[in-house]
Symmetry: C2
Subunit: 145 residues, 2 copies
C-alpha cells in the first residue's frame, strides 16, 4: 500500500503527536525508533523530509528533538504526509499501471476501482495527526506490536 518510508513517517508523526499533545514533550530519534519499531537512521531521513515540508518541527541541541505544534496537530492530514513521501501515485494512479488514469481511455477496472480509491482519498484527507494521536492516547490504537 504505502512505502516503508511512508509507513515509518506516519507512525512516527502519530507518536510525536501524542507526546506533544498529551505531555508537551519533545521526543528524540532514539525514542521514536524504539516506540514505533523502526530503523533509527532510516527513520531520521524520513523525518528530515517531513521537517523540510513543514509537517513536523525539529529543535536541535540538548533538550531538543521532534515535536508537533498545536497547529500542526490540528491541520496536518495523512494525505499531506503520503503526498510528501510517496507522491501522488497511490492517490491518483491507475490500478493497472496505465500511465494516466483517465475516463478518456480508462483501463477495464477504472469505474470499479474509482470509488474505492476515492474513499481512500477521503479517509486520508479527513484524518489529522492529532486525531490519530488521540486514538493512541485512548488505547484504541497502537504503533507497534
Amino acid at each position: 500500500m504505502f512505502s516503508k518510508a511512508c509507513e515509518y513517517g506516519i507512525r512516527a508523526l502519530i507518536y510525536i503527536g501524542q507526546q506533544s499533545a498529551d505531555f508537551g514533550r519533545r521526543v528524540g530519534l532514539r525514542d521514536i525508533a524504539a516506540e514505533i519499531d523502526s530503523p533509527e537512521a532510516f527513520t531520521a531521513k524520513v523525518l528530515q523530509q517531513l521537517v523540510r515540508q513543514q509537517l513536523l518541527t525539529s529543535v536541535k541541541g540538548p533538550a531538543g528533538g521532534f515535536e508537533l505544534t498545536p497547529e500542526q496537530l490540528r491541520t496536518v492530514t495523512l494525505r499531506q504526509v503520503v503526498l510528501a513521501i510517496d507522491g501522488p501515485g497511490m492517490l491518483q494512479g491507475c490500478a493497472l499501471g496505465l500511465p494516466q488514469c483517465s475516463a478518456k481511455q480508462p483501463c477495464p477496472m477504472h469505474y470499479q476501482f474509482l470509488p474505492i480509491r476515492d474513499q481512500l482519498n477521503e479517509l486520508l484527507r479527513t484524518y489529522t495527526i492529532g486525531e490519530l494521536a488521540g486514538k493512541v492516547h485512548e488505547g484504541l490504537g497502537f504503533l507497534k506490536q
Copy 2:
C-alpha cells in the same frame, strides 16, 4: 498499489483472454508486449509464473502461444492473479505496516481502513478475467494508452 509485475500480468491476461474469447486465437509474447505496452522479457517471466499456477495456458512450437481456456476465462479472478504474483500483502496487510493487521492490537487507522480494504478484496474476488476481457471487447476499457 500493485507491483509492476502484477500490473503487467493482469493486463496481459486480459488481452490474452480477449483474444481467446473473441477469436479463439493464441497470442505470442511479442504481440502481448506490444498490445499492453510492457517489456517483453520481463512480461515473459510473469506469464511463466501464471502458467505454473495454472491461471494461464501456454503452448510451445509454431502456432503456439498463450491462451485462456473457457474455464480459465470463467473462473480465474483478479484476486487469484494478485495473490499469485504479489502475495497476500495488499489484501490483508496493515495500512501502517504493523507486522500483523489484527483487531487485537490494531493501528490507529485500522477500523477506518478495514472497510476500504474489504471493498478492494470484494472487487478482486468478484471480477474474472473473462468479464474484464468483455469490457475491452466492447470498447469500454483499454490496456494501453
